[in-house]
Amino acid sequence: MTNTEAKTTLSVTIDGEVFEARPGELLIEACERAGTYIPRFCYHSRMKPVGMCRMCLVEVDTGRGPALQPACMLPCSDGMTVSTETPGTRKVQAGILEYLLINHPLDCPVCDKGGECPLQDQTVAYGPGESRFVEEKRHYEKPIPINDNVFLDRERCILCDRCTRFADTVAGDKLIHFMDRGNNTQVNTFPDEPFASYFSGNTVQICPVGALTARPYRFKARPWDLDETVSTAWTDSAGARVAVQSSRDKVIRLLGIDSDPVNWGWLSDKERFAFEALNSDDRLTAPLTRVGDHLVPTGWSTALERAVSLLSDADPDRVAVIGGARLTNESQYAWAKLAKGVIGTDNVDSQLADGLDPELVLGLPRATIDEACTPGGTIILCGPDPKEEIGSLYLRLRHAVVHDDARLIELTPTATGLSPVAAHSLHPRPGEVADLARALVEAANGGPAVSAAGVSAEEISSAAVAIDGSVTIIIGRASLAESADCVTDAALQLAALPGSRFLSALRRGNIHGALDSGLAPGLLPGRTTIEAGAARFADAWPSTPASRGLDTAGILAAAADGRIDVLVLLGSDPINDFAGRPLAAAALETVPNVIALDMLVNDSIAMAADVVLAASGATESAGTFTNLEGRISVCRQRVTPPGTARADWMIASEIARRLGFDLGFDSVESIRAEIAAVSVVHSGLDEKALAEALVDGLLIGGSGDIMVPGVVGVSPSAHDAYSLRLVASRSMYDDGVALRNSPSSRGLARSVTLRLNPTDFDKIGVDRGTVVRTESAVGRLLVPVEPDPGVPVGSAVLPWAAPGSPANTLIDPFSTVTDVRVERA
């Protein structure tokens, strides 16, 4: 060719039809795009091909005559001719299947995979029909548990390397591996080390045979019995797309859907198995009212009348609403309208002092997950451990770092699940992350590197050099024992990096939808404030709050002080989730009236609720979800709610009606129409756009009227030599009420240990695992202690909401940092 320009497409002939393939595209992908399916077992579009199973062998002619080539390993080249239906290809397909079935038991009628099994399907389509193998098949112990939820039947395994490749290259948890050789080759774990991965359920989903099965679905149903709808996972804020599958009106399985901008088909086990809580025997099937010390079932009209009489008697300023992240966007909007527009209180907060300043999250320039994962870019983590809090985000970030040359710089108080692949892990002293951020930005902008927050000048200098390309800063709360202001200040420092964008890592379910719906003091729906946005709501709402109300810490302090008459818990559990248990307990003891909307009775409800309104769950009502990027995706109803439980927006409408105002909603569509009409940022939210964006969702961009807040100027108190500074970080599995009601997740909450740097540990002079007294200004815990070199000197790390030892016992929500003394008990 005389033309030196690089070709943008390659001409490939597939079964006689010419097709334009992309450079670098694998033959199996090009054929699929051209509508020709090539059978496969080991090939998976989200993992590197390995060519293990040989099922995709096809006759390929590149000018030297046809030869059998694995289509999953062969990049397309110009002029390539592929024959997928010749006798040669057919013969090898039949041969490979006969070979794979030599050791595969023909137990399809009793196999859980039967009916949705690629091996079964492809044997029917391409197989020889009969086997010539008459000898004994190999035998293994029938299914062995490789962790608490996943079972492995090695007899059925065809050694495709999908699960082991996933564990190695995607999750980074190399705990399953091929063992032995030849005919004895098998997938297994190390003898006493289970496949303890937060992502183990994905291996079950991608297993092309019935070798891997998961406890929650085993023998529950047959694939042809299942009804399925596309929805969104609700346990964290990534908004992973899922297929919700039910049988006989009960959800029994969730599968990940490959959404290119979000989760690539992967799910964390928490997202995958959390539906069990919705099937719990303890689900509320009817409203409850308090009679003496007990909550007893009652009818809706009784419960609503009691709730409404409490609300109508109260001065609006003495009503407060805490929570809302569990709700759909539509229910959140309905509740914002009820609380702020009808009742007239601005004491509304969907975060429990465990999040960030909403104006920081909404006001800063935002990045999508794809932008954060730009190949060759820089990711600065100034927030929680994504592996523990937002599993789907962790997998995307890990892929960007490991496979796409992105550089990760961690500014976290301790090591995280991403530390093994991070370019630089800088661990500032708790409360001083803003100082570290300032030093890093100065060094990156050509200034001298100086030590800050306990991190040396050399470390800061070398990290600053790594900042290049697109810069995304992930913000969130790495520790709930230091105030959100620390992150605000750090984020504002990092905003000075040229071209930097921010990705929020607030974890709690639909928290970003809650902020967009105005469930925060001073905000109205659609990323606007009560000052800037009031005019737009004049027609749709009876009124808007005149002045900014209290946040959750303020509400609870006011309640403890006797200044709140009615507290609404909108799917929240302040006792366990608020960063400051002593204050939450005092507030709930003092506040005279508590109305709760929830699916299960949590500790706060049991302690204080007067009326509990039974709410429907994520798979039981329709709506939409907003993920951490601001991406709206649908949640569809799959099953009917238990008993008389109903959607949160219906409850809001019902309360409003009894208060003498019609919210004007008769469906989620009618709520969406009002959101699109009144919001400055949601004008593109219409039913057609939403339907077209079924898998990838609809990205809602822009900051609306929200201005970036100013620097708070936190300065943590001096650190005395006898104390350690507390780091309270969340883990994937904790003692939350939903996980307590999920049989497969219940046992996974780690028993609590206080982790100290070995230097600090030695000073106490006790053995590993000894129970020590940990005391702060507001509370005390008895916990076992152990050394951990990943914890910096001077810090003490305690998991959040661990069974039996709630870290928030020690936390004062109004102090910048939490110092604890650790002593022999």
Partner: protein, 206 residues
């Protein structure tokens, strides 16, 4: 069930330092573990994983591919009698029967005193000297029943000095100082002629 001794741990670290990636040292470290305990113990694999930054599953997955790594206790002397065609024609079957009778164990078994494990093996590449066997991978060729009895007696009396205990690859451990190593660098960093090639070039010119 033991981890590396302090001495062996320092040898392990030296072995790891010879490779651009610690994981490359898995096989030599498995040999070291087998040399220490006679077989590869669970704790040793865990220790290897710690030293090389891998997981125990990767260590076991790698090691279990190889028949010569034993993941269960074996005798201090492992006798492998070849059972392939040439040796079979030359009397390997009767030799194996004799060995079973002499040691009082079946093929695959270990004597009660923990001294001998008897195995039959596929071809050990000594067809011209059939029937052949190996004791801890040291050959004995054209073996008769009397030779076998003598071998067992020699081992029992401690006079078979050329045969180390199971797991020891070589009676002499080579110590390679860092500057005499091959100087292998990871491929992505390989910009210049490698150390060993430069050294060979210099030697040729002298």
């Amino acid at each position: 069930m033991s981890r590396f001794s302090l001495d062996n741990e320092s040898i392990a670290r030296e072995i790891i330092s010879r490779y651009p990636r610690p994981k490359s040292a898995l096989i030599p470290l498995l040999h070291l573990a087998q040399e220490q305990d006679g077989w590869v113990t669970i704790d040793a694999m865990r220790h290897i994983a710690e030293l090389t930054g891998t997981t125990p599953a990767e260590v076991m997955g790698t090691g279990s591919f190889y028949e010569m790594f034993k993941f269960h206790p074996v005798g201090r002397y492992v006798i492998n009698i070849c059972s392939n065609i040439t040796c079979q024609l030359m009397g390997a079957e009767s030799l194996l029967e004799h060995a079973e009778a002499k040691l009082g164990v079946k093929v695959g078994g270990t004597t009660a005193d923990g001294l001998f494990t008897l195995e039959d093996v596929e071809c050990i590449a000594a067809c011209t000297e059939a029937p052949a066997l190996q004791v801890n991978y040291r050959y004995r060729l054209r073996v008769t029943a009397e030779d076998f009895d003598q071998l067992v007696d020699d081992i029992r009396s401690g006079t078979a000095r050329d045969i180390p205990e199971h797991g020891t690859l070589s009676l002499v451990r080579q110590s390679i100082p860092a500057d005499r190593g091959a100087g292998i660098v990871p491929p992505e960093q390989a910009r210049e002629v490698s150390v060993w090639m430069a050294r060979n070039d210099a030697a040729e010119q002298n």
